[in-house]
C-alpha cells in the first residue's frame, strides 16, 4: 500500500479525511479476508489485534446494536436470491487544535452579548457551539447570544482543515467567555454585597452572590457605558486529539441483478467532549452517507484515450439519494471521559467504507477490490467467480 502511480489525470483534491477512507477500506478488507481464511469471527479477529481497548468497547457496542450474531457465519452462505450480510471496520483520526484563534466577547449595558471571531461555518456547527459556550458561561440561552463570524476584520482564526476548527476555536471562545465573566463579576460585585468575583455565579438568567440575586439585565445595566470586552486565546488544556470509530453495516445483495441495498448502519465514535450532540450525530450520519456513496455509486470515470472525465455532472456522478439511505444509528461513545474538544468531521467517514465493503463480502461471498461496487461489477463477479481484480 501507499504507492503512487502517474496517470496523467487531473490531480485529486482534499476531500473529508483525504486518504483515510481509502486506506481504511483496503486495510479492513484485508483484515476481513484474513479472518475468513482463518475461519475466525471478524470482530474477534480485530479485538485480538487491536491493542487499544477503546476499539474493543466500541466494537462490542456496535455489535450489540446491529445484532452481529445475525451475520452469515460463512460469507455468501444461504439460499435465495436476496442475500444479507453484516460487516464491521474501525477507523482513527487525529483532529485536535492549535493556537490561532483570537475571540472577543462583548457584554453591553442592555444585556446583549456578542461573541466575535473571524472564523467561518462550513455547515459543521461553528455558529452553534460558539454561541453555546458563551451562553453556558453566563447562564443564558443560545438565543441570548449573537455570534459574529466570517469576517477577517474580526479576531484571527484558523482555516478549516483536518477537523481542527472546533478544537482550535472552542478553547479560545471558552477563555474569552471566562475572562468576560470575571470582568463582569468585578464590576457588579457592589450590587451583590461586594461578593468576591470568583464566588459570583451565573445561572438561569440571574447573577448570584453575597446572599443576593439580580437578573442578568440588572447586572448588565450596572456595567460601564462602553460595556465589557474580553479577548480570549489558546488554552491547550481544553482540547485534545486522537479519536476512534467503529462501524457496522448490514446490506442486502440481489444476486441476480448485482444491486446492493444498505439496510442499516451503526457507527460508534468517540469525540472527546461533544459540544452539541445533535451536530455530532449529524456528522456521523453524514460520514456514513458519504461512505455509502463512495462504496456503492460514486466514482470518477475517465476516458483513457481522450483523457477527459466522462461524468463531471451530478447526473452521471451518482451521489446517494434519499432512496439509498439506510437506517442510520449514530452513537457517541460517552465512555470517552476527556473534557476536551477534538473535532469529528473527518473521523466520521473513515470506518464506514470498510464496514460496507465487508458487509457485501459477508452477504454474497464476493470481494470487490474496485470501488464503487456498482451492479455490473457485483453481477459479473458473482457469475465469474469470487473476486474482481
Amino acid at each position: 500500500m501507499g504507492r503512487s502511480s502517474r496517470c496523467d489525470e487531473d490531480a485529486s483534491r482534499a476531500m473529508r479525511a483525504p486518504g483515510h477512507p481509502q486506506a481504511s477500506y483496503a486495510m479492513e478488507s484485508l483484515m476481513d479476508d484474513l479472518a475468513a481464511k482463518l475461519g475466525m469471527d471478524p470482530l474477534e479477529f480485530r479485538k485480538k489485534n487491536l491493542k487499544d481497548t477503546v476499539y474493543h468497547r466500541q466494537l462490542d457496542r456496535g455489535a450489540r446494536e446491529i445484532g452481529w450474531q445475525r451475520r452469515n457465519q460463512t460469507p455468501g452462505a444461504g439460499a435465495g436470491t436476496l442475500k444479507r450480510g453484516i460487516g464491521c471496520a474501525v477507523g482513527t483520526w487525529g483532529g485536535g487544535g492549535n493556537d490561532q484563534c483570537k475571540v472577543d466577547v462583548t457584554i453591553s449595558r442592555d444585556g446583549s452579548v456578542v461573541v466575535a471571531v473571524g472564523t467561518q461555518d462550513l455547515g459543521t456547527g461553528t455558529r452553534t457551539f460558539t454561541r453555546a459556550i458563551v451562553a453556558e458561561e453566563f447562564g443564558l440561552q443560545l438565543k441570548d447570544i449573537v455570534e459574529k463570524i466570517g469576517n477577517s476584520k474580526l479576531g484571527g482564526a484558523n482555516a478549516s482543515g483536518g477537523s481542527t476548527t472546533s478544537a482550535s476555536l472552542s478553547p479560545s471562545v471558552k477563555d474569552a467567555a471566562i475572562k468576560a465573566r470575571m470582568a463582569m463579576a468585578e464590576k457588579i460585585a457592589p450590587l451583590l454585597g461586594n461578593a468576591k468575583p470568583e464566588e459570583i455565579t451565573f445561572a438561569n438568567g440571574s447573577v448570584n452572590g453575597g446572599g443576593k440575586s439580580v437578573s442578568w439585565q440588572q447586572a448588565a445595566a450596572a456595567l460601564p457605558a462602553a460595556g465589557i470586552t474580553a479577548r480570549g486565546g489558546w488554552r491547550s488544556d481544553l482540547q485534545s486529539s486522537g479519536v476512534h470509530g467503529a462501524c457496522f453495516a448490514e446490506v442486502e445483495v440481489d444476486t441476480e441483478t448485482g444491486r446492493v441495498r444498505a439496510i442499516k448502519m451503526v457507527q460508534v465514535q468517540d469525540v472527546g467532549l461533544p459540544l452539541n450532540r445533535l451536530a455530532v450525530e449529524s456528522q456521523i450520519n453524514g460520514g456514513m452517507i458519504q461512505s455509502l456513496g463512495m462504496v456503492l455509486s460514486e466514482g470518477r470515470v475517465m476516458d483513457a484515450e481522450l483523457g477527459i472525465q466522462l461524468n463531471p455532472g451530478f447526473g452521471d456522478y451518482k451521489l446517494p439519494g434519499a432512496a439509498e439511505i439506510p437506517e442510520l444509528v449514530p452513537l457517541i461513545d460517552d465512555e470517552d471521559k476527556r473534557e476536551a474538544v477534538i473535532g469529528v468531521g473527518e473521523a466520521a467517514i473513515i470506518p464506514s467504507v470498510g464496514a460496507l465493503a465487508n458487509a457485501v463480502f459477508n452477504a454474497c461471498g464476493v470481494r470487490i477490490h474496485d470501488l464503487p461496487m456498482t451492479p455490473d461489477k457485483i453481477l459479473m463477479a458473482l457469475m465469474n467467480g469470487r473476486t474482481t481484480a
Binding site: E256, T257, G258, R259, S297, V301, M302, D303, A304, E305, L306, I308, L310, N311, P312, G315, D316, K318, P320, G321, A322, A323, E324, T374, P375, D376, K377, L379, M380, M383
Partner: protein
C-alpha cells in the same frame, strides 16, 4: 447555450410553420426545435449538443394536455400530458398499469411535473460522449462512436453500430408493448406512425436522429389501443441509483391469460439495451400456450436476449436484462 429565437404559437399549424420557416442550416443540430417541458431539450442546449436557431414553445397550444378514453376504447394521450398526469391518472392505473409504472419510474417528481409524454419519446441519448460538449461523436456529426471502444458500460448490447447509444425513454418500451402509435403533424400534413416504425436504428435511419420525425413535425397525440394484454402490463426498470436514474435495463411486459392461466399472448420489450426500444418477438412467440414456471421464464429470458453482442464493459447487461424479463413476466402473470 447558444442564442436562439423564441416563438410561442397558439396553434399546431402555427408551430409547424414556425419550425419550417426557421433559418435554413446545414447542421441538423442547429435546426429549429419544438419545446414542451424542456427537461431534455434545455440540457442538450446547455451542453451545446443541440444549438437550435429557434425554439418553438408548444405549451401555449390548447387541447394537447388531456388523457381521453378508457380500457374498452383505448387511450388518446395528448403530447403535452405531463408524466405526473400520466402516472396519477386513475384510468391508466386501472387499465394500463404498466404505463403508469413506466411514468412513475422516470427521473424525479419535479421533472415528471414538467416533462411531457411527447418529450419523453423524443429524448436525445444519454451517452456521456454525446452529452459532453468537448466530444464530437458520431451522433453529433463526428466520425467516431467513442463508446464503441471506450467507457461503454451504459451502452447498447443489441442493435448497436455504428452508434451504440441506448434509447433513454421509459415510456417507449411500454407504449410499444401496448401497440401504441403517434399522431404527427408537419408541413406536409398529418400522419399516424406505429411506434414500431417510429424509432430508428443508427444503421437504418439518420445517424443524427433517433426517430423518423422530420424537422418540421410535431407529435400531437399518442394512441394506445384497447388490448387484451393491457390489464396485465407491467414495467420493470433497473436503475443504478434508485432515487433518480435512467435504466441500466428495463422490461415492458404484457400478457393475456387463458382460463387455465396459460399465456394466450405476450409482449416483451426491452429498454436500456438498444438504440431503440427492443421488442423480443421470439420470446413472445415462445410464451404462447405456456404455463409460467422457472424453465419457461428462463427460456423466455434467454430468447429475449438472443443475439446480444456486449461491448467490453457491458456484458453484465445480458444476465441483468434476463433477470428483469423473468421478474417482469412473473409479475405480469401473477400480479
Amino acid at each position: 447555450m447558444k442564442t436562439f429565437e423564441w416563438a410561442s404559437p397558439a396553434t399546431i399549424n402555427e408551430a409547424v410553420q414556425l419550425l419550417k420557416s426557421a433559418p435554413v442550416t446545414s447542421d441538423i443540430d442547429e435546426a429549429a426545435r419544438p419545446m414542451a417541458g424542456g427537461q431534455d431539450l434545455l440540457t442538450t442546449m446547455k451542453d451545446y449538443s443541440t444549438r437550435p436557431s429557434r425554439v418553438v414553445n408548444l405549451k401555449g397550444i390548447r387541447g394537447l394536455d388531456r388523457i381521453q378514453g378508457n380500457g374498452r376504447t383505448g387511450l388518446t394521450i395528448g403530447a403535452l400530458v405531463t408524466l405526473s398526469q400520466l402516472e396519477e391518472n386513475p384510468v391508466v392505473r386501472a387499465s394500463f398499469p404498466g404505463l403508469g409504472e413506466a411514468a412513475h419510474s422516470i427521473a424525479t417528481p419535479q421533472i415528471r411535473n414538467l416533462g411531457t409524454v411527447g418529450g419523453n419519446l423524443c429524448q436525445r441519448p444519454r451517452c456521456w460522449y454525446y452529452r459532453l460538449e468537448e466530444v464530437i461523436c458520431l451522433k453529433k456529426g463526428g466520425s467516431e462512436c467513442y463508446a464503441a471502444k471506450g467507457e461503454n458500460k451504459y451502452n447498447a448490447i443489441l442493435g448497436g453500430g455504428p452508434s451504440y447509444i441506448v434509447h433513454p425513454s421509459d415510456l417507449a418500451p411500454m407504449l410499444l408493448a401496448l401497440g401504441a402509435s403517434v399522431s404527427v403533424v408537419g408541413a406536409d400534413g398529418k400522419r399516424v406512425i406505429p411506434l414500431d416504425k417510429f424509432f430508428t436504428l443508427p444503421a437504418d435511419g439518420n445517424i443524427r436522429r433517433e426517430n423518423v420525425l422530420k424537422n418540421d413535425e410535431i407529435i400531437t397525440q399518442i394512441q394506445v389501443p384497447a388490448s387484451p394484454v393491457a390489464a396485465r402490463s407491467t414495467y420493470l426498470k433497473f436503475k443504478e441509483r434508485e432515487s433518480m436514474d435512467f435504466a441500466l435495463a428495463s422490461v415492458a411486459a404484457a400478457v393475456q391469460l387463458r382460463a387455465n392461466k396459460s399465456i394466450a399472448q405476450a409482449r416483451v420489450v426491452l429498454g436500456g439495451v438498444a438504440p431503440i426500444p427492443w421488442r423480443a418477438p421470439q420470446a413472445e412467440q415462445f410464451l404462447v400456450g405456456k404455463m409460467l414456471g422457472p424453465d419457461v421464464l428462463a427460456e423466455a429470458a434467454r430468447l429475449a436476449l438472443q443475439g446480444a453482442q456486449p461491448l467490453e464493459k457491458n456484458a453484465y447487461k445480458v444476465p441483468l436484462a434476463q433477470t428483469l424479463v423473468r421478474r417482469a413476466l412473473a409479475k405480469a402473470v401473477n400480479g
